[in-house]
């Protein structure tokens, strides 16, 4: 698990095909998001009904939608939205969940029971259902949907952290650290966290993909990002009613979501190979 030198780490990265492909796909999304901050091929807030349903051309790479907006620009700007949702929602789940998991594992006893039973309780509700419930209570909107997805992420990270941390607590070097006079807090920070970090990083990429999907699902249901801000999920929703005479309208946002999720999953898979050399390196 330890990384002896940065050079071998980098060379391991390039040997993992899924890391390279996933990294390229994720990098492309990031590039789209950043570019769209100051340049898009067309206007996304100007509605001109005269230009609606234009076929793909040099000015409109993917054509226009039913309001005459440039689809390529909408997709690019939608990337911002998806990445924001991913970053914020995963950060909420990561910070709260990992803290809870580490606490449960260090304290044991009733603290662990309480944290784990609470997360079991939240697992009893399907993810999308609980996100719908939270947005129904707090009201639809971008921020609330991020919050809902973030809260849904907490028990996932808490459970993963607690399980892997418990395995580390049983290791001999933790016993040796205790024999050296270290308290639970120091052992958690110096011994447990560094040894489970690679597993958590991999989970981050997976949860990131799930968050993008969940945001698309919430927006599709009208509970996420509100118009006129573009969102892949809402584009998909709007395209649904046009499916029989403009099928391509649904293909673009669908492909964007698939690209993002696929890329992040590949990246996570690659990271697992790179960060944990004990697993097969042939992939």
């Amino acid at each position: 698990m330890s990384i002896s030198s940065s050079q071998s780490f980098v060379s391991r990265c390039f040997k993992s095909r899924s890391f390279v492909v996933g990294g390229l796909m994720t990098g492309f999304l990031l590039l789209c998001a950043i570019t769209s901050l100051f340049w898009t091929p067309g206007e996304i807030y100007d509605i001109s009904i005269a230009d609606r349903f234009l076929s793909p051309s040099l000015t409109h790479w993917f054509g226009t939608d039913q309001f005459g907006r440039d689809i390529a620009s909408l997709l690019m700007t939608g990337t911002q939205n998806s990445i924001t949702v991913g970053v914020v929602a995963v950060s909420i789940g990561l910070s709260v969940g990992v803290t809870l998991g580490l606490t449960a594992s260090a304290q044991r006893g009733w603290v662990e029971e309480l944290i784990m039973r609470l997360s079991d309780f939240s697992f009893a509700f399907p993810a999308i259902l609980s996100a719908i419930m939270i947005t129904a209570i707090l009201g639809p909107g971008g921020v609330n949907s991020i919050l809902a997805i973030g809260i849904y992420n907490i028990p996932i990270f808490a459970r993963l952290t607690r399980g892997t941390a418990n395995a580390i607590w049983a290791r001999e070097y933790v016993m040796a650290a205790r024999a050296a006079g270290k308290g639970k807090f120091r052992i958690t920070l110096e011994h447990v966290l560094p040894n489970i970090l690679s597993i958590i990083i991999v989970q981050v990429t997976i949860q990131f993909a799930i968050a993008i999907l969940a945001e698309a699902a919430l927006s599709y249901l009208g509970l996420g990002t509100q118009p006129p801000h573009p969102s892949w999920g809402r584009m998909l929703n709007e395209a649904q009613s046009l499916m029989f005479f403009q099928p391509l309208q649904a293909v673009y946002p669908g492909a964007a979501i698939a690209l993002a999720v696929f890329g992040l999953n590949l990246l996570g898979d690659g990271l697992r190979d790179v960060l944990d050399p004990r697993l097969s390196r042939k992939r």
Binding site: M1, S2, S4, R108, G109, R171, E172, Y173, M175, A176, A177, R178, A179, A180, G181, K182, G183, R186, E190, H191, P194, N195
Partner: protein, 331 residues
């Protein structure tokens, strides 16, 4: 007043089948600079005793009795107070050098940590001291090795690092739990010699735990032979090895392969297995395996009888055992 006094130590482990009596009525005294060996087969409570002394028993353990370090009862101390004692006044070396070091930190960092924690040294001072320690325990090129990760060192060198960590804060007592069991024989000798020299130079007390009678005989002044969680024979090492008395101790000796023994001859063994700690037999726990067992052994706990100035044995049939010594109890 002895440095360490253990009085009537009992450790019970809560299991699904009921309490397992890992350590029973254990008494030990250790003077400053003295070395004591604890010997016995697997599951006799050696390691549990060591963990109890360090206050590192698992959470399902119930400990009673007294462990006094310089007259302070460690069992009454809070976890926070114990943290200032562990690694500082009492240090421990573990059996498995391969897994006792954290794989993600350099060995240098791991040697420096107790120094910074207990002695409050600055990073630069701790590094200087760590280099001295590495030199002291015989790691070549400390300047380069200090930046190595554990997997870049051999087993023997890792055990040397563990010793350096244990020694870093000049503890009063060093507990070595099977420190050489995982190492090959040539390294084993070097490591034991190193421990021996360091203990003598620093005036530390040593508690050496092993199942190897040879290791104990060469490295300790006192011995406690444990069986089924309790001490069956204890005293000065030369006295015990000179006149083996308890049937169990005799059995342990008989079971040792001897140089030049007939190759076609099978090794002597003690029949049976260690007792189930959850359902301990009444009376003497060795009864079921003892060639001298009589009816009283099943009923009463054997009294501890003194044999000479510093030699005590817990056996009902001590006289018979001593007489049978020359003939060989297990032949």
């Amino acid at each position: 007043m002895a440095l360490l006094e253990v009085e009537n130590l009992n450790v019970d482990l809560a299991t699904a089948m009921g309490p397992a009596r890992a350590v029973r009525n254990l008494n030990l005294t250790l003077e400053k600079g003295q070395s004591i060996g604890i010997v016995g087969e697997s599951g006799c409570g050696k390691s549990m005793t060591a963990l109890a002394l360090m206050g590192l028993l698992p959470e399902n353990a119930i400990t009673t009795g007294e462990i006094r370090l310089s007259n302070e009862n460690l069992l009454k101390k809070s976890e926070r107070e114990l943290c200032t004692i562990r690694g500082n006044r009492m240090a421990m070396i573990f059996q498995e050098p391969m897994t006792s070091l954290n794989p993600v930190h350099t060995v240098g960092r791991q040697i420096m940590e107790p120094l910074r924690l207990h002695r409050g040294l600055s990073k630069a001072d701790a590094k200087k001291k760590a280099l001295q320690l590495m030199d002291r325990v015989g790691i070549p090129n400390p300047e380069q090795r200090i930046a190595n990760f554990p997997h870049q060192l051999s087993g023997g060198q890792r055990q040397r690092v563990m010793i350096a960590i244990a020694l870093s804060c000049d503890p009063d007592i060093l507990i070595a739990d099977e420190p050489t069991t995982a190492l090959d024989v040539t390294i084993q000798d070097q490591i034991l010699e190193l421990i021996q020299n360091l203990v003598a130079e620093e005036g530390m007390s040593l508690i050496l735990i092993s199942h190897d009678l040879g290791v104990i005989a060469e490295n300790t002044e006192k011995v406690a032979v444990m069986y089924g969680g309790t001490v069956v024979e204890s005293g000065a090492t030369d006295q015990i090895f000179g006149q083996l008395s308890h049937p169990y101790t005799q059995g342990l000796f008989a079971a040792m392969p001897k140089l030049g023994m007939d190759r076609t001859k099978r090794l002597t063994t003690i029949p049976g297995t260690v007792p189930d700690l959850v359902n301990l037999p009444a009376g003497c726990t060795f009864t079921d395996r003892c060639p001298l067992a009589s009816s009283i052994c099943r009923e009463n706990t054997p009294p501890i009888e003194a044999l000479g100035s510093s030699h005590a044995v817990a056996c009902h049939n001590l006289q018979q055992a001593i007489e049978a010594r020359s003939a060989g109890l297990y032949e």
